[in-house]
């Protein structure tokens, strides 16, 4: 489903201008990272995609829906959003019920709810925890419950806010696998993150936010070749990029295999 933001401006009630003319189009099935310093407008832009925020001027289209014309609850059919802190997103006393909460709200049939829940639990390796209270799980377990809850809603677009925070390397690998699967299903994935090592390996496109604008829009490889603008924005390139640059490789490597090819 196509996402289109046309020249959107947004100011919080405190008066600070957070979005200052953002225009971007995201094609169906893209894996896009929103990066930038804290306060650069990443989360504000992402919250415009599911109608949690409305632009002061400009328009946001999700497919043929203008976000201004739909409530966030209606937008939940098209855009799922996983917040950073899992504890603010748990509403039930059983993992299974928690994951079912979204599909139930959307009025899916009982069979459909059960199917989506089981699938999401399998994807996030939570099958054995389905009867537990989510609050009895560790941080990463609770985080996986919130990820599963978003997956179960079967939306064409999913926004993840800092999805790797608190996950160990094995769980990050599992998340990368889930992203890959969702990508193959044609879903659009938008990730807000500071985890450059994860992003370079798993995202196709990087959007750098600076002062409420998109300062750089490039593929993951091209993005990290723009060392000057990255320095200005305070971002540190992933280790593999820095290593390949220090070793004088002709082009930036996005993973270890590429680095070995380029280096030899």
């Amino acid at each position: 489903m196509l996402i289109r933001a046309d020249d959107i401006h947004f100011t919080y009630s405190e008066g600070e201008k957070v979005l200052n003319g953002v225009s971007v189009t995201i094609q169906p099935g893209e894996k896009v990272a929103l990066v930038g310093q804290n306060g650069s407008g990443k989360t504000t832009l992402a919250r415009h995609l599911n109608g949690l925020l409305r632009p002061a001027t400009g328009q946001v289209w999700i497919g043929d829906w203008l976000t201004q014309d739909h409530s966030p609850a209606q937008m939940a059919r098209r855009v799922a959003y996983v917040f950073q802190n899992p504890d603010e997103q748990l509403f039930h006393q059983r993992v299974w019920d928690e994951v079912a909460f979204g599909p139930q709200n959307l009025g899916c049939s009982v069979r459909e709810v059960a199917f989506q829940v089981e699938r999401a639990l399998d994807l996030m390796d939570l099958r054995g925890a389905s009867d537990l209270n989510p609050r009895d799980l560790g941080y990463s377990g609770r985080k996986r419950v919130t990820l599963a809850s978003a997956l179960a809603m079967q939306t064409p677009i999913i926004v993840f806010d800092e999805p790797t925070a608190g996950l160990d390397s094995k769980e990050q690998e599992q998340l990368a696998g889930v992203f890959s699967l969702l990508h193959h299903q044609g879903k659009t994935i938008i990730v807000i993150s500071h985890d450059m090592d994860f992003l370079i390996e798993n995202m196709d496109r990087m959007l750098l936010m600076m002062n409420g604008k998109i300062a750089l829009d490039a593929s993951a490889r091209d993005f990290f070749e723009q060392s000057r603008i990255l320095e200005t924005s305070g971002l540190i390139a992933p280790q593999i990029v820095r290593l390949s640059q220090k070793m004088g490789c002709s082009q930036v490597s996005t993973n270890v295999d590429e680095f070995l090819d380029n280096f030899s």
């Binding site: 599911n50 949690l52 409530s71 966030p72 609850a73 209606q74 937008m75 939940a76 059919r77 855009v79 799922a80 959003y81 917040f83 802190n85 504890d87 603010e88 997103q89 748990l90 509403f91 039930h92 006393q93 019920d97 079912a100 909460f101 979204g102 599909p103 139930q104 709200n105 959307l106 009025g107 899916c108 049939s109 009982v110 709810v113 059960a114 209270n133 609050r135 009895d136 809850s149 809603m153």
Partner: protein, 264 residues
């Protein structure tokens, strides 16, 4: 983080199988009769006894008795001491201990309150130990309670473990910065004051974040929500509910008349 402390005891007894509304009406009707019916302790004694018999048949009487003793014993002791020694109605002195005297009237009044509380608690525990909170909420939604209000009723139970965990975190942080939270009663009470501000502020922030998380999970979606459990109701139960409502109304009116003629 601790699991939510609900009073529900999972089981398959006939009480568990009753429709939640039948148990709710029983509890409410009992409360009306206990506190509003004629005849003082008589109105309190019989609903309490009846609730105990129902619990005994369901094999739940042991757990309920333990809960009542745990909750009411300290309160009953304080009540008997206060009313026994300082009730202004005391005229028949049973025992004199220096400057204070134990009065028959005060003990009678304390007994009445304890009997009423025991009976009301027994009737409400009958509902709580045999009904899962989500089933109770669902039954209320089925009779037309707005789902937002239903969530509001259920949310204190869901928020409780989070609040407990937050208090523990704030206390740990304060201890790490040198605040004495252990020790005698006064030290503990003094340590509660610095806890209030961070707890209240964090809860207020939490409310906003949780409401956003509810929105993106489609909580306010205009469609009918999917219910995963089917509550079984019968014609007999519906009739019994009406009988209880009429009986409670009748005894309330009788109780008002009884009080107008000097009963208490």
């Amino acid at each position: 983080m601790p699991t939510t402390p609900t009073l529900y005891l999972p089981g398959t007894s006939y009480l568990h199988r009753l429709h939640p509304l039948s148990k709710l009406v029983f509890s409410l009707a009992s409360a009306v009769i206990i506190f509003g019916g004629p005849g003082g302790w008589v109105s309190a004694f019989f609903p309490g006894l009846f609730a105990m018999l129902l619990l005994w048949r369901a094999g739940l009487v042991g757990e309920v008795t333990r809960t009542i003793l745990r909750l009411l014993t300290p309160f009953a002791v304080v009540l008997f001491l206060i009313h026994g020694f300082v009730n202004p109605q005391n005229q028949t002195i049973l025992l004199r201990l220096g400057p204070v005297a134990l009065g028959q009237e005060g003990l009678n009044f304390a007994s009445l309150i304890v009997i009423r509380l025991t009976a009301a608690l027994t009737a409400s525990l009958l509902l709580m130990v045999s009904t899962h909170p989500s089933d109770l909420i669902q039954s209320l939604v089925e009779i037309g309670l707005p789902h937002r209000l239903a969530y509001l009723l259920g949310s204190p139970l869901l928020m409780l473990p989070q609040m407990v965990a937050r208090v523990q975190v704030i206390q740990s942080v304060q201890q790490a910065r040198g605040l004495e939270t252990q020790g005698n009663f006064f030290q503990r009470v003094r340590a509660l004051f610095p806890l209030v501000a961070p707890l209240v502020f964090s809860v207020l922030v939490d409310v906003e974040d949780r409401s956003l998380a509810l929105e993106v999970r489609g909580f306010n979606a205009p469609n009918q929500k999917t219910s995963l459990t089917e509550l079984v109701d019968t014609r007999e139960q519906r009739a019994a509910r009406w009988i209880m409502i009429v009986l409670a109304g009748f005894l309330l009116i009788a109780g008002i008349g009884w009080r107008m003629h000097g009963g208490h």
